[in-house]
Symmetry: D2
Subunit: 333 residues, 4 copies
């Protein structure tokens, strides 16, 4: 590729925005031309993302400063839609939104959500890579939604996700963003466990929609208990459902489904969350106990659950190898 | 009480043994006359339990050094039964065993397990306080078993625990004891999450037995996903089951069941684990979502889940107020 | 003691206030008659200090609701002085202030600071227990100030703290209080280390003043590097200075100095912070390397470093045994 | 570069070995041809380094399986020397040893240590990049030694490191390796702080030797208090010494010294350890307080403090750009 693509970020001072900056600075085919922030405009990026000292001398802009090939929206839920309604973005610019604004539509069961003339394609490559390649606008999935869908999609694809699904999942603190809150206060959160939005997590909408897309005639109830855990990065979920498949059959199904998807790995190892931290991978692990098929799914919430998946989508939009710029050294510890 | 009871501990160098030493040194009616340890015999207790420096000058003994009124066995699974089979313990000595050796009997569904002439009563005061008071030997419940039973017993008592029960639970590292292992290595465990014994945790035996005791004609399946969490103390479980009760009805049922049990509290606050750390309390929290009654249960695994409950049982055995020596300052942070 | 002392707390919704509530609820000779909070007035205490559910049904008051024997001020730096200047407090009420407002006086080198008619005695029992017993108003020392002074006072008492002193120390997150801030955000603080106020920590004032009080003719420079650590509770400091004492001589000196002080223990064990957590103890450990005498000092910042020391001072003011209500079960893990 | 260099690792199952595998798999000019392990021979690498599932199908070898261009020794202290004494390694193979076996020589003050015919050059690029480029064998520096030297070398280069130096430093748990021990037990280490080898850390040898190399006529005493911290990765040190330099002069000196060294950055931001985690960077921060020049230095102990620096040395040995394969996405959280 002779020239680099020009990329810009709206809302670059937050966690997802910072991860995007880190990824794009290392991406061989991207030039980051602006990183916008309302709160930090005109400040050096390294004042906020202090680990980038020595890596960039860019300052946050207050606005879009140039036309770009791809625009990432990290503005947050609600703000993304408002941004697009009030800002002139070139028609040729591809837009990848990391908020939930365009992920699902209450009125329809479709995976395309529109605002004005823009139609957003739900950007889970392991569900619909071909649709993504052809899209102009992408709604990047939620973090829990990614982990849970990757655990369930192979069953739905075969229309055999028919029994109730029981999911428990634990998220790190970065999942709640950088705003200060009581549940992200270190004194409270360290060595602590709590639940939130039990049975009511908003990501269930996307998950149910994707399952319906694959198996339109079956919509099993999904019961989801989300936990807040005392760690910064990562999502670990365990899902189980009654299934006729043997472990061998299930393993074959999952391996087949993900054979062409480089970031999803079926592992025979006992899973632990740090296997995926600082990578764009999703590691799945299967067990069978009695009638219950148990699927563990782990991702880094800021990468495969947010900014890494956004770059994966960008790679698809621009027909790059899906893994470009995403072969990351795991932190491991 | 004019004279203090004499107490001894077998296996006092481990975590549960250490907690017992801490509790008994502060108990107003107990004199700790020996603390036995195979590995640390003749060493000062404060070499192992370094926080007790200045509190005691006792050394670990290699054997029982005196007849005692109450003997706590913290020897570990398997070792407790062997100890009693090979050691002469005065018939008048009350024995409280913290291992799983006498908690359940594969052959029977009863809550009394025997070895030789000794009959062990299952020591969950909130299940059978009166039986405990009359007992000579107590099998102290498991930590997960305590948390899960306290979440479910009121329903079983009314014979309305009839639907499948789904439980996820997270335990701190002290639950695995002080032996060194890969999953208790700091570099591995910090900021990490993993599962173990999915659907196969050994505590399900005690739980199922207690439920059968209360509602002999119904035995719902209990699906249990145990997690290892990156924290030292505590157990947090979430159980849900389909129920006809409204939230108000469930709350009334639970409040009524635990009205006379000082250590179990029904809280309307959103639960977080540190509410119970360094206390003997179990905090329960109820929610209703659709048909699902969701019960959260939290304990300190080393106190209400082990040594605190053992002291609670001792208090009952000796007709002391159940809370004697167990009004502890929460650590809170 | 026939009747309980009446106690009140101003600023009871913060960390130090919460610890005081926990301690006073368990104190055998105290009745907590009010717990004031501006922000939480009329709310149940258990809404804020959720671990106290089941322990108290008190609500925060907006004001002092009764005359009390002892009033604890946890209002914060600056607010304590303002409170006393604007509020009518009975002359017979003893006041213990936990802020820095009355700890030292820029103009004088004395350990008594006055406001209006009130003269505050610096409340470090191991420095001046007799003065505290006779006092009406107490300025409770700072947390780092307590740990560092207890490490150095025996040398100053002998007028042999003459060489430069080098101190590094690490504090947990509760030392910064419950207000939300970037450096107390979990995502930032977990697994992180940072310094703050290097060579400029405000507690050096109290420390230098106490040393001057004991050895008026020598004032060695104290260099202090404070660290923020990824843990909630505790302060660990290491001080070293050139000294002629052998290790044996130093040990004897320290043991002699603290022989009558029940909360300070000279330990031969290698120190680790959790030895003192959830206790009112200070553990000191001595080493000698070449000419350097190295003193480690560890406290729980919220107890011996704040609320525990305040109760210790209260006990002295009312001629109770100094340890009343302060024999606490260590959390150990 | 037409062909990739062939690399092998002895002792690849440990922490440093694992990091090397992670780095070399991503290095554009290296082919990892074997990864030897005594304990894990014939097992898949991903059984031990579970995060690499999907990245490699290599198994650990029991021995060197081929001649290589570069051999990394992660065998551990003592074992490296023994390996070279007992194993035939091709004379053309460049060797990079990560143990302390060849870092310093008690008999001489030189930076070259020999065994048999092999002469090891001390591999701190910021001290002697040109000597490294010409070397055949490299002794990779210690982790604390790297952080402390990078904080002090500019002063020594100017022969103005003449006053006593006071250093405190905190290391994460991975610094102690993967072997199980009481001080790496999660239950002990979490939320804990302790010291070890106070004033006696073995890395002082290398540090003193390098300083003597730069300023032969001055050898100031270095007092070093090492702490163990409750985190997995990283080293944070604070050094101070009396200096005539103003802050501006010191900053200019350090910027000048490191101008040609891409991994060392002088930052004006307040330092926190996570700025360098999962990178090969060293971030330095300077303050001046009175006469004291205070230097903070932070590295990832497994990268710039071990395996990253080893790859940096490899790049120099083979005349690659020093940063090849070392532009890593920081984990940041």
């Amino acid at each position: 590729m002779a020239t680099r693509m020009k990329a810009g970020i709206i809302g670059a001072a937050g966690y997802a925005g910072g991860e995007l900056v880190r990824l794009l600075l290392l991406h061989p085919y991207v030039e980051l031309v602006f990183a916008q922030s309302n709160s930090q405009a005109e400040q050096p990026i390294t004042n906020t993302h202090t680990d980038l000292v020595g890596e960039t001398t860019l300052t946050f802009s207050s606005d879009m400063t140039a036309e770009v090939d791809v625009l990432f929206l990290c503005a947050g839920h609600g703000a993304a839609r408002k941004f697009l309604e009030t800002t002139s973005v070139a028609a040729t610019t591809k837009v990848i939104d990391l908020s939930q604004d365009f992920r699902w539509n209450e009125q329809t069961s479709e995976s395309i959500v529109t605002t004005g003339e823009r139609a957003f394609v739900y950007g889970l490559p392991e569900l619909q890579r071909e649709e993504i390649k052809k899209a102009q606008h992408i709604a990047n999935p939620g973090c829990f939604a990614t982990a849970i869908q990757l655990a369930l999609l192979p069953l739905a694809q075969e229309s055999i996700l028919t029994s109730e699904v029981h999911v428990s999942g634990i998220t790190g603190s970065t999942g709640a963003g950088q705003q200060l809150s009581e549940t992200s206060h270190f004194s409270w959160r360290t060595e602590n466990i709590s639940t939130y939005k039990v049975m009511q997590h908003q990501h269930l909408h996307e998950i149910n929609r994707s399952i319906k897309q694959l198996q339109p005639n079956q919509q099993p109830a999904i019961h989801f208990v989300p936990y807040r855990g005392p760690f910064a990065r990562g999502i670990f979920i365990t899902a189980y459902t009654s299934s006729d498949l043997t472990l061998a059959q299930a393993t074959e199904l999952y391996q087949s489904y993900y054979a062409q998807h480089p970031f999803v790995i079926i592992s025979a190892q006992n899973p632990d969350l740090k296997q995926v931290i600082n990578t764009n991978k999703c590691i799945l692990h299967l067990q069978k106990h009695g009638e219950q098929l148990v699927i563990t799914s782990m991702i880094d919430n800021l990468l495969k659950g947010a900014s890494g998946q956004a770059v994966q989508n960008m790679n698809l939009l621009f027909r790059l190898d899906e893994t470009t710029g995403l072969k990351l050294k795991p932190s491991a510890f």
